[in-house]
């Protein structure tokens, strides 16, 4: 029976991944992981790393080792591996989850490149690397806040408010091209995401390399607009789809996944019960 229920669960998951990610918040179903999280690898990991992670997890969850309980988990691992190890499938999958990733980054406000020292503040520092001439003045005055990326030849914010306010003020003033900006903390993640050079698709030997938007602030604006549009579409879809699932079904689904979770603890649970009854 549990197999059948979990099949329902899987069906829904396969068919409309977007519904799933909203419903989990509404009905407190266990948090579904994306394929990268499932395999415990970073989004930019190499196929070799993915293979290694897959094998390591298989050694833990494969039914040969974990018994029949490992069946469901291994199915998911197999699915994740199948997608991530093939270049074409992985690209498609990245496109389908890529947006969520960046949006989450913006909502949290801290998931960009730089980390925060102390409490969040409404404004944050951002170096426009397009304008930076690599003079290292800022690194000299506030070495805990800025770092110099030798590979790119630009300064970058390492830790927001890594030094005291006076030092930061001096370092911002010291910039000969005024490329250190104060931005809203909500903007930061998108700006830091966009300023990172992106691999450019080349044609033969021409046009390969790395690129970033010429005006990062304009790019951020249009990027945000795009995200908003997608979020709207997403909400519409969710609105339509949410109606399709009746409370009874949601409950059944929640029960099914809870049962899967509980199975892990059943040995322990029986033990506890045993002690209780003996007393």
């Amino acid at each position: 029976m549990s197999l059948l229920l979990s099949w329902f669960h899987l069906r829904r998951r396969l068919r409309c991944p977007k519904i799933r990610c909203c419903n989990q918040r509404a009905s407190s179903v266990r948090i579904e992981k994306n394929y990268y999280e499932l395999l415990g690898v970073s989004v930019d990991s190499t196929p070799q790393e993915i293979k290694e992670a897959y094998r390591k997890l298989q050694k833990k969850y494969h039914p040969d080792i974990a018994g029949q309980q490992g069946h469901e988990h291994t199915l998911m691992l197999n699915e994740a591996y199948k997608v991530l190890v093939r270049d074409d499938l992985r690209r498609g999958y990245d496109a389908s989850i890529g947006n969520t990733r960046v949006r989450l980054g913006r909502n949290n406000g801290v998931a960009g490149y730089s980390s925060w020292n102390g409490a969040l503040r409404p404004h944050a520092l951002f170096v426009d690397e397009n304008a930076c001439i690599g003079c290292r003045e800022c690194v000299h005055y506030a070495s805990n806040t800025f770092l110099f990326d030798e590979a790119v030849g630009c300064a970058r914010v390492k830790v927001q408010y890594g030094d005291d306010d006076r030092k930061i003020e001096v370092s911002v003033e010291s910039c000969p091209v005024n490329c250190i900006h104060w931005v809203d903390k909500e903007e930061l993640a998108v700006l830091e995401f966009l300023i990172r050079p992106q691999a450019k698709e080349g044609k033969g030997v021409f046009g390969q390399g790395w690129e970033r938007p010429a005006n990062v602030f304009m790019a951020a604006k249009s990027f945000n607009r795009q995200l908003k549009q997608q979020a709207d579409n997403h909400r519409d879809n969710v609105g339509a789809a949410a109606e399709e699932e009746t409370p009874a079904q949601a409950e059944a689904r929640a029960n099914a996944s809870m049962k899967i979770e509980m199975e892990k603890y059943s040995v322990f649970w029986n033990l506890v019960k045993g002690i209780f009854w003996n007393k």
Binding site: K56, H62, Q68, T74
Partner: protein, 571 residues
């Protein structure tokens, strides 16, 4: 009753960890029942050990002799002479007969064996019989195998001084699920529970994985990924696997196999030495059986000697004025068996293609099985894989059973302090499984070489307006038409709401777990609702029993295309 015990045993499997701490852990033994030879191995706590019978043999001939009231098998029985096995009273080559119908070409080829194989060519189980006191006494391949397994179990229990229940069996890649159920039934008759069925080359792959890991431990090097091609050719079957191995995990990339083996080579050679032997081989008269036995022994001997010398002289007097005296050399041998070798080559190429592994990326090529010492085969495998040398590290006749014993230990939850059991095989499905749809097309739902455990689903719809029932036929195989594949089972999905053609969504989901059990789920959805309109069906496959050869035809005659399905093309 047997079914009941079966279930209980598989439940207790989950508590394997507790068991392993006891003095006599219930470690599953590895069993390799070959077409001609058989062996048993077990993990003895530090390594794999092959069990020997009372005559100190590790490799025992797979046969059962029906002499008097009690039949005796190759484990305990001592043959007085080679001819005794060929006197008609002994059944062998069970593996080529089990689970096959009498229209199968492999069964027809078996009619040339000394015992009686009768075919009626209607798609039922062939009639087989052994000559006992001048009478043909009937039996079945399952029964013969079960008698053999009872002896095997008794031998293992005596050696290990504990009851044996769980076994890991190696099987050919090309075995259909129906054949596997016959093997399982024979095991159940012998009181054994099949913990895992392993395609033979994947058992070898597991042994290879263990050996690679040990080398890594010794050299303290990094466990880089190694691709290996495993070619296993025995008396009855030829199997190929491509595996990617790293850190003790053997990941099967692709499998390929066919019912081609040493038996075919032997029959080709017999036909070559005595061109009009067909009549002699098929007649089964008392004198003819004896002459046929002499021819078989002489040919077999010649083939064995050809592995070490470039030409052999065959000199045998079959009586009745027939005398064979001629010299056979390599060229002649290779020419006679050209088709066999061509098939081997195509299997290797197909497997490499399916695995998407380039020949240059192969680290090792492993050649095992009873035919592995044939010089032509060695050069052929080396040439196709562009390798100078074949992998040396394993005994070609014991590799499969050793791998099965390793899997038995791993799946029984045994761990080894030295990390020798830090192993895992990630299996792939050897054959595609799908349903009949779009007329007589075979629509695969779980394709070949899908990583196991696997679960896939596909949507279908009705072919007629107001069609309220759908007949679901499950097939397994490699062909694109259902006729080329094996029927596994069928059931009817009822309660489809009347609707125009193509509106109801019939969802079929297939689930294969690690012990290779296939479950099929089917249900109907109507557009606009996420509720299934009727309870789902859950069917464990295969459901067909004997006589499955004509099931599909009868179903077609009874229902025509009234209950057909078509695939839904995703937009």
């Amino acid at each position: 009753m047997a079914e009941q015990q079966y279930t209980v045993a598989s439940d207790s499997e989950t508590t394997g960890e507790e068991k392993s701490s006891s003095t006599y852990p219930d470690i599953a033994i590895g069993v390799d029942i070959g077409t001609s030879q058989c062996s048993v191995a077990v993990w003895n706590g530090s390594q794999v050990e092959l069990l020997k019978n009372t005559r100190n043999q590790k490799l025992m001939l797979s046969y059962v002799t029906f002499k008097d009231e009690t039949p005796s098998g190759g484990i305990s029985n001592q043959l007085n002479h080679e001819y005794e096995m060929l006197s008609g009273s002994t059944i062998f080559n069970m593996k080529r007969l089990i689970g096959r119908v009498d229209t199968d070409p492999v069964v027809h080829a078996s009619k040339k064996l000394p015992f009686l194989v009768q075919t009626l060519n209607i798609g039922v189980r062939p009639f087989i019989a052994a000559l006992v006191n001048n009478a043909w006494r009937s039996t079945t391949p399952e029964e013969v195998l079960a008698i053999f397994l009872v002896e095997l179990r008794a031998m293992a229990e005596l050696q290990l001084k504990r009851p044996i229940r769980n076994v890991v069996l190696t099987v050919p890649v090309s075995f259909s699920r129906f054949q596997l159920t016959r093997i399982e039934r024979a095991c159940a008759m012998a009181g054994l529970h099949v913990l895992r069925l392993m395609p033979e080359p994947t058992a070898v792959a597991l042994l290879y994985a263990q050996q690679q890991q040990q080398t890594v431990h010794e050299n303290m090097g990094s466990g880089s990924e190694k691709n290996a091609l495993i070619f296993n050719m025995g008396a009855g079957y030829t199997d190929v696997a491509v595996t990617a191995t790293a850190g003790g995990v053997s990941q099967i990339k692709a499998l390929a196999g066919a019912a081609v083996g040493g038996e075919d080579i032997l029959q080709n050679m017999m036909g070559h030495l005595l061109p009009d032997s067909e009549g002699l081989l098929l007649s089964h008269g008392i004198k003819d059986i004896r002459r046929m036995g002499m021819l078989r022994v002489a040919t077999q001997d010649a083939i064995h000697r050809l592995s070490f010398q470039t030409s052999v002289k065959v000199d045998v007097d079959l009586g009745n004025g027939t005398n064979i005296c001629r010299t056979i050399n390599w060229e002649e041998f290779e020419e006679v068996n050209l088709k066999v070798f061509e098939k081997c080559e195509s299997l290797i190429r197909q497997c490499l293609h399916d695995a998407k592994v380039d020949i240059e990326d192969l680290t090792d090529v492993v050649l095992v099985g009873g035919c592995s010492s044939i010089p032509k085969l060695r050069t052929l495998v080396k040439d196709v894989c562009k390798k100078q040398e074949l992998y040396q590290g394993m005994n070609p006749l014991e590799a499969a059973v050793a791998g099965a014993a390793l899997e038995g230990a791993v799946a029984s939850g045994v761990s080894d302090p030295f990390g020798n059991l830090d192993l895992l095989t990630i299996q792939a499905t050897p054959l595609a499984i799908g349903v009949r749809a779009d007329g007589k097309e075979f629509v695969p739902i779980i394709p070949r070489n899908t990583t196991m455990p696997a679960r896939r689903e596909l949507s279908f719809t009705t072919t007629h307006a107001n069609q309220t029932e759908a007949l679901i036929l499950i097939y397994e195989g490699e062909g694109t038409k259902v006729e080329e594949n094996h029927l596994l089972g069928y059931f009817k999905l009822v309660g489809i709401p009347p609707a125009p053609q193509g509106v109801p969504e019939i969802n079929i989901c297939m689930d294969i777990d690690a012990s290779h059990v296939l479950r099929v789920f089917a249900g109907v959805m109507m557009p606009g609702s996420e509720h299934p309109v009727a309870p789902f069906m859950e069917v464990r496959m295969p459901t067909v029993d004997d006589g499955h050869g004509w099931c599909a035809e009868v179903l077609h005659r009874a229902y025509g295309s009234t209950l057909d399905l078509v695939t839904v093309h995703k937009k």
